[in-house]
Symmetry: none
Subunit: 222 residues, 2 copies
DNA sequence: GAAGAACATTATTCAACGATAACATCATCA
DNA sequence: TGATGATGTTATCGTTGAATAATGTTCTTC
């Protein structure tokens, strides 16, 4: 996850930069509007934090230019101006969130996460859960209730994909694309076969089934 | 563009409602958490404005429940609590914007527009509704009021087509083309037969029928 | 009000889909 | 190089969803 900071106050910039890095983001920093615009246009960021009063090119113009060029990176506006008019202007110009200085870092972080969450569904957790089932993506351990479940790599990937879309129905085509990286129909029933084994490990012996087949459509976990 | 307001303070609610209506939005209002949740789950909104301190079901729980149910309507949190902790909690729970009371209407309006602007670049709707009926295309769940309805794939496709054209009469030929992919007349009564089943599941037991036959022309849902 | 058309309802039949298990292949590592 | 484990393949079987067709109902028209 990459974040762009455009801020001329070195103290604030460094404070935010370190905080976000500690939270696991990759952070780029520009200390003036022109450099910020250049970075935003040539690189690809998941969110940006932009000050309004900037040397060379002010924040308003920066955001406006970005939006004109159809660059839709979410923008958190960080400004010392606290008037309602400024806040409204910020949002109307193309900003997604307006934070006034001084601000709490935890709030900025929450904003960043909220915007990223909305932009690509969900944030990047290390643990995924559905009901009694939980999987740790780091240790690659899977538990149903307290019982540990051993999964083979493919099964793990399949389960991960299901859980990331928990509640939503995913088609076999989708599954093949994301879990097998097939962009064509291999004319076999790999998915069914593997799904069968996954079920065996996850649902067998339990009354409450988690994996459901939606005939003619795909599968859901819930 | 439809907006949901969940707010128990009648003064504020009415103020916001009128303002948003004047700005061209269709506004629904619930004055407690339970009703708000119900509306949010059965209707489809482009944005919602939710108070935190609510009777029956508080705002936190409301938002949490929505997100659990994969209802991703943007949420503006409207709260009297101004502490950083509350703001962070609001964003982490699933809110998209945190506004503190008292607030300027123009700022709220700008938020609403910003959220809609961002949401619109994205995909087509995931939920379709007609009156008490709502279908979630992601989870493939269909509800009439609070009652869940199980549909077979064809029935689901048929209902989807009807709702996408809700209010308009669709001919059997149209239906065959779009739901069955037939470009000729199969000389059978497939459509009637399936429509019958669909009705059985959707309208049976309810006084208010949703699916109507227009003799000699086709069908409508409304 | 009778006849016929348009539509509703239901049971039966059939095919497609998916579950499953046995088998084959491939890779890895001692 | 052979053993082990992971993965894909194939074949078979059961289930379920959907079309058909036969029958019943309602509406329309003369």
């Amino acid at each position: 996850m990459r974040i762009l900071i455009v801020e001329d106050d070195q103290k604030i910039a460094s404070f935010v930069k370190h905080g976000l890095r500690a939270a696991g983001f990759a952070v780029d920093h520009a200390d003036n509007g022109e450099d910020g615009l250049h970075l935003a246009m040539t690189e690809s960021y998941d969110t940006s934090v932009i000050d309004i009063m900037l040397p060379k090119l002010d924040g308003w113009s920066l955001i406006e230019t970005l939006r004109e060029k159809k660059i839709n990176t979410p923008v958190i506006i960080l400004s010392a101006k606290r008037s309602v008019d400024d806040r409204v202007k910020g949002l109307q110009t193309g900003g997604d969130y307006y934070l006034t200085k001084p601000f709490a870092f935890s709030e900025l972080l929450a904003c960043v996460q909220a915007l990223i969450r909305r932009a690509n569904g969900e944030s990047e957790p290390t643990r995924l859960t559905v009901g009694p089932l939980s999987m740790n993506l780091l240790t690659r351990e899977v538990f149903r209730a307290d019982r540990k479940i051993d999964l083979q790599p493919r099964e793990f990937a399949l389960l991960e994909y299901l859980i990331r879309n928990s509640g939503k129905v995913v088609s076999k085509t989708m599954i093949m694309e994301h879990v097998w990286d097939y962009n064509f129909d291999p004319q076999t029933n790999v998915v069914e076969a593997r799904m069968c084994r996954l079920r065996d490990k996850i649902d067998r012996g339990f009354t409450k089934k988690l994996i459901h087949t939606i005939r003619g459509v795909g599968y859901v976990i819930k």
